[in-house]
């Protein structure tokens, strides 16, 4: 499946690039060329072995046209979190100022659209855009880089602790049908700053569209960033999202990826531990049913010594759903005293659901501690019997045990409003069959 991408040449030519600096035009052209050269990945590509992107490759998505904004009430009803959080709302990929509210971010946190920041601080954007999420051999990142029209740039000043997390809401409405959305996020947390960001991907109407998101997060020395990704796209949609992080010395990155939407989704969370004693935690939960396919790939690059990585992913699969988890860890010869722990657990609720999981450890240092554990199972019969023996009916017992499986990883979400919202969704999902 090579060069199916010629069909996007017209869409590329039609992009409105007025005012874009020369370097950006060059970057986009180079990205398009790379996209054309590599084409969509096939299952022969090791990184895509269990996920066929044929449904995305065989379609021709259009660029989205501006459309009337939904109401704020609709946006808030579709998202999980605290409505008082500062928010940046993108409707079908375009920033919607009338729905956004960025005033409450506090001093030291600067947020602007990609277009505005290119005008205000072109050098800043030039210094960071495309620097972490490089597109060499990466079709989807190249695709995004070539086509990203709108996006968000966030800068947290040295030593600043943001009062509240920033909620970036990507919302697709009926107008998104047949369209491709290429949102871009750039976060730079200067040394010793602390910042939380929630990226929600939601839809107002079931329709077939393609989100191809890329985020780049630079975390300075001693800085701490929490990133939460909430993927609740339309169940007919396609979603590919890449979060690429670079961490400095003594920094911390905590990531939580929730995936319950989309017909086909792939989430990449990659962090490079480039400074000593940095810490990364990658957790996630996916819940899929019907013929949904949800794939997560994580990659932790231990470059500096004394760094720690922790990973816990859980999946709950019903119907004919297919889950994929691929946790990659690389430990550089320099990264002595690396402490890495990875586990992923999947719960199959039907005989036809399927999971493929593959931990991949490449360790080139000798004084390290790296472990991984992986299980795929069904509800424990003995636990079910125990609950029934206390009078709890079979359905409730199954629901409670399934919810408990999810709750164990959801409890690591540190933002109360988000955790409670996701717990409620999970609880209702597994208990609703009861009545």
């Amino acid at each position: 499946m090579t060069a199916p991408v010629a069909k996007y040449a017209d869409a590329f030519a039609a992009l409105d690039t007025t005012g874009a600096p020369g370097w950006l035009a060059d970057l986009r052209s180079a990205a398009l060329a790379e996209f054309n050269a590599v084409g969509f990945p096939t299952t022969r590509n090791e990184d895509w072995h269990f996920t066929s992107v044929t449904p995305i490759a065989e379609r021709s998505f259009r660029s989205a046209k501006p459309s009337a904004a939904p109401t704020l009430a609709d946006v808030l009803a579709a998202t999980v979190g605290d409505p008082s959080w500062p928010r940046a709302v993108f409707v079908n990929g375009r920033f919607e100022a009338s729905l956004s509210s960025l005033k409450t971010l506090g001093a030291g946190v600067r947020v602007g659209t990609l277009a505005d920041t290119l005008k205000d601080s072109p050098d800043f954007v030039a210094a960071h855009l495309g620097k972490l999420a490089t597109f060499d051999k990466q079709a989807f990142t190249a695709f995004n880089t070539a086509f990203a029209q709108d996006g968000l740039v966030v800068r947290i000043a040295h030593g600043v602790k943001a009062d509240a997390p920033l909620h970036v809401i990507h919302i697709a409405d009926a107008q998104a049908a047949g369209c491709m959305l290429h949102p871009r996020l750039l976060v730079v947390a200067e040394p010793l700053s602390e910042f939380g960001i929630v990226e929600s991907f939601v839809s107002l109407k079931a329709s077939e569209y393609f989100t191809n998101a890329v985020a780049e997060i630079t975390i300075g020395n001693g800085a701490r960033v929490h990133h939460y990704k909430v993927q609740r796209e339309s169940e007919q949609a396609f979603h590919v999202g890449t979060v690429q992080v670079a961490q400095g010395r003594d920094s911390a990155f905590h990531s939580f990826s929730y995936a319950a939407g989309a017909a086909l989704s792939r989430t990449n969370i990659y962090s490079r531990l480039g400074g000593e004693a940095a810490e990364v935690r990658l957790n996630g939960l996916y819940m899929v049913d019907g013929s949904q396919h949800a794939d997560h790939q994580t990659f932790v690059e231990h470059i500096a010594p004394h760094c720690a990585s922790r990973e816990l992913y859980k999946g709950i699969l019903d119907g004919h759903a297919h889950g994929v988890f691929n946790g990659k860890v690389y430990v550089d010869p320099e990264a002595q005293k690396t402490d890495g722990k990875q586990s992923n657990h999947a719960l199959l609720l039907s005989g036809t659901a399927r999971v493929d999981s593959k931990p991949q450890l490449e360790i080139f240092a000798d004084d390290v501690k790296c472990t991984h554990g992986s299980t795929v199972g069904r509800l424990d019969d003995i636990a079910l019997f125990y609950m029934k023996s206390r009078g709890i009916g079979a359905e409730s017992a199954r629901a409670l045990l399934t919810y408990a499986f999810a709750a164990e990883v959801l409890e690591t979400v540190e933002l109360d409003a988000l955790r409670e919202g996701l717990e409620k969704i999970a609880f209702e999902r597994f208990t609703q069959t009861e009545q």
Binding site: A383, G391, A394
Partner: protein, 248 residues
């Protein structure tokens, strides 16, 4: 209340219970003793409805109804309670939520409304005192990371809250120190009424100093080889099981 008639049961290919008959009336306390592997837990689990055991012949009636025909949750809703020899850990479900779910499902099955959450808190406060447990345990996952003694106390707490008609305690005393044994048996005795019955499965005569049985049965090789009054327990303490097992 409970009438077991010539029950045979197996797990997989292995026959474990080989013809057991036992009648328990309201107000009675029965002790079942016997060497390891004699089938005591199997009998208890069969009464509770464990799916891993198959009853190949015989019958059990409870309150006149066919017990073996009921799902485990129905048995519980009708007042059967088994304190497990090895209580099960359920990470992610708090004790409080678990107890309230069980309490309300039993009420619902008996045509009653859910208990008011505040009333339930009061009830818990009372019951938790009975087993001398730290109230913080209510907010921990069911049995997860509990010590052996804490698990046994938790079983008795569940029993205290659910107030069964027929309670079966499977080696609830094993692994308890004397203080815990006093608390646990004190809890059991406090729940004793004229209209309920208790079966205590134990390996040690010691427990029967605290929970005094009306009848003692000795199980060996899947059969009841001897039944008697409480003095039988003392005889077993003095002579061991061998004389009965050899005779069987």
């Amino acid at each position: 209340m409970l009438k077991i008639d010539n029950i045979h049961a197996r797990a997989g290919e292995k026959e474990i219970l080989k013809g057991i008959s036992l009648t328990v009336n309201a107000g009675e306390v029965h002790a079942i003793m016997g060497p390891n592997g004699s089938g005591k837990s199997t009998l208890a689990q069969v009464i509770a409805g464990h799916p891993g055991f198959e009853v190949t012949s015989g019958s059990i009636t409870y309150g006149g109804d066919d017990l073996l025909d009921m799902d485990p949750e129905v048995r519980a809703q009708k007042g059967v309670f088994l304190a497990f020899q090895y209580p099960v850990e359920i990470p992610g479900v708090t004790n409080a939520y678990f107890l309230r779910s069980a309490y309300n499902e039993i009420r619902k099955a008996n045509g009653q409304e859910d208990i008011d959450p505040m009333d339930f808190l009061d009830l818990m406060e009372k019951k938790i005192k009975l087993v001398d447990m730290d109230p913080a345990m209510l907010h921990r996952s069911v049995n997860a990371g509990f010590s052996g003694g804490e698990k046994k106390r938790n079983e008795i707490l569940q029993m205290a809250v659910l107030e069964p008609k027929l309670a079966i305690l499977d080696e609830t005393d094993s692994g308890l120190d004397i203080d815990a044994l006093r608390v646990v048996s004190g809890g059991v005795n406090a729940l004793k009424r004229a209209d309920n019955a208790t079966i205590v499965v134990t390996h040690y005569q010691r427990l029967l100093n605290y929970i005094v049985p009306d009848f003692v049965h000795v199980l060996a090789g899947g059969k009841i080889v001897k039944s008697g009054g409480k003095e039988l327990a003392l005889e077993l303490e003095a002579k061991g099981y061998d004389w009965l097992v050899d005779a069987a």
